[in-house]
Amino acid sequence: MTAARYTRVAIGLHWAIAAAIFCTFALGLYMADLPPSPTKLKLYAYHKWIGVTIFVLVLARIGWRLAHPAPALPPMPAWQRAATRASHALLYLLTLAVPVAGWLFSSASGFQTVYLGVLPIPDLVGRDKAAADMFKAAHWYLNLTMVCVVVLHAGAALKHHFVDRDDVLARMIPLLKPRSPGK
């Protein structure tokens, strides 16, 4: 019933979202302390556009996942299965919450988000300094939490591949040959 590997779509979405998060995370760290300049305004816009893109891709991914169950995990202790479920759920949640917090931070700071410079996304909150500070902190700490979970997620995948030598990582990387074909 369940395939040994995630579907092509799921794999494509996973890596596209991962790459986008990596880029916009680095961009966010870099741009925040720049002095005012046209470059800074551009980078902020790109950062927000990537964030909106990630949000939409994550929604698409969740929808896809609901219709296409994840492939079965190889045998492993129950606590590891529980940890897998929890960390995956947390990743879905954080990859939605981080852009939402960023969007609210932007609105509260007085900047509407206009996707690609053409599609205005309505402001849920108006300009408000106290709210902006709160959403800024939320954006930052949600990001820090996400970094921790991503490190755990990638670390676990590598541990399964190189230490347990099972097919967990191969489920998400088409180039890796499954070690126990057919399961």
């Binding site: 005012p36 300049s37 046209p38 305004l41 551009k42 902020y44 816009a45 700071s109 007085g110 900047f111 509407q112 988000t113 206009v114 690609l116 410079g117 053409v118 300009r127 300094k129």
Partner: protein, 183 residues
Amino acid sequence: MTFRLMLAAVLALASMQAHAEAIDPQRSEIRFVSRQMGVPIDGNFARLSGSVRFDPGNLDGARAEIQVSLGSIDAGSDEATAEVKRRPWFNVSGFPSAKFRATGARRIGDNRYEATGELVIKGIRRALTVPFTVKRAEDATVFEGGFTLLRLDFGIGEGVWSDTETVANEVEVRFRLVQPDRA
């Protein structure tokens, strides 16, 4: 202050009073919408003053003199407000105020007029034609109108900031001048 100077000041004030009625700075407003990376951003100037003389029967004799305190700007966010007071933008310390002086008006429609005059910002003078309407409030005459200001005409945003892809050249300005009836 010498007596002669005081006399001159009193006479000047008296002659102004004879020609035009002061607008109420508290009830009058100037708002604008700038655009950066496609994002419309509302702003306003909190402090303005001046006088208007307007008689629909004597449009050639229409006069207005409006002063806007540029330091009272709110550019839509704390960062932008701090930035636009600096040298490349309004250079508020060098040019504290903007002036509009109208020297005539003409009818362009049903209760629609056009004031012709001169706008001075940062020492740069440009002819300006401003459409407006005249309304009666309970205790005042209200002049409302707007125009598109091309910021680069006045050197607002010089150097790297003259890039209009990040910050649009066009700024939509709306004003509402409330002239209380003489007590």
